[in-house]
Assembly symmetry: C2
Homo-oligomer: 101 residues x 2
């Protein structure tokens, strides 16, 4: 399973951030072709290390081919462009593979 | 669903880190009472934001009560203490809730 991961630092106005995320950004995420599921985690506490993370969004794709097609899609471009509307300077975007240990 | 999240920055020796993680740390994680599942993601690329993340480990618990019991367990204490053996200065540990958007 391939993942696109977005880790957001705490915004100045958490309620407004979440309203925008749920009302505008998440629907854009949902249109990305090949998306298997999206899991959103609200960070509550940081027990060790870097403070200030707020939200973790993980978008799952079945395999490398569907992930690459998704990344090249206009729907993904629109989703990425929307980040500037609410998360400029707050988001780290990463790609990864779920691995068996 | 409650989660314990560990985000590791890139170690000096990734192969040795992964050998230790798989051979010593993951078995300790597996003993934490109430653990529903653990999902390990190898970070491949950072497309925006903070560079240098290497591994994302997510431990899932069914609810708040089982999560609190897990955090208080000697197995969790042993797992936390083991972090110093391979991930000192590399790990950010967070707690969170999977939310519906």
């Amino acid at each position: 399973m391939k993942k696109l991961i977005a880790l957001y630092k705490a915004p100045a106005d958490p309620a407004a951030f979440m309203d925008y995320y749920a009302g505008v950004h998440a629907p854009l995420v949902g249109k990305i072709p090949g998306l298997v599921k999206a899991e959103i985690t609200r960070i509550n506490r940081t027990l060790a290390g870097d403070q200030g993370n707020f939200l973790l969004a993980e978008m799952y794709f079945a395999d490398e081919d569907s992930f690459r097609a998704a990344m090249k899609s206009p729907e993904n471009a629109a989703t990425g462009a929307d980040l500037a509307n609410f998360a400029g300077g707050l988001v780290t975007v990463m790609t990864g593979d779920v691995i068996e240990i």
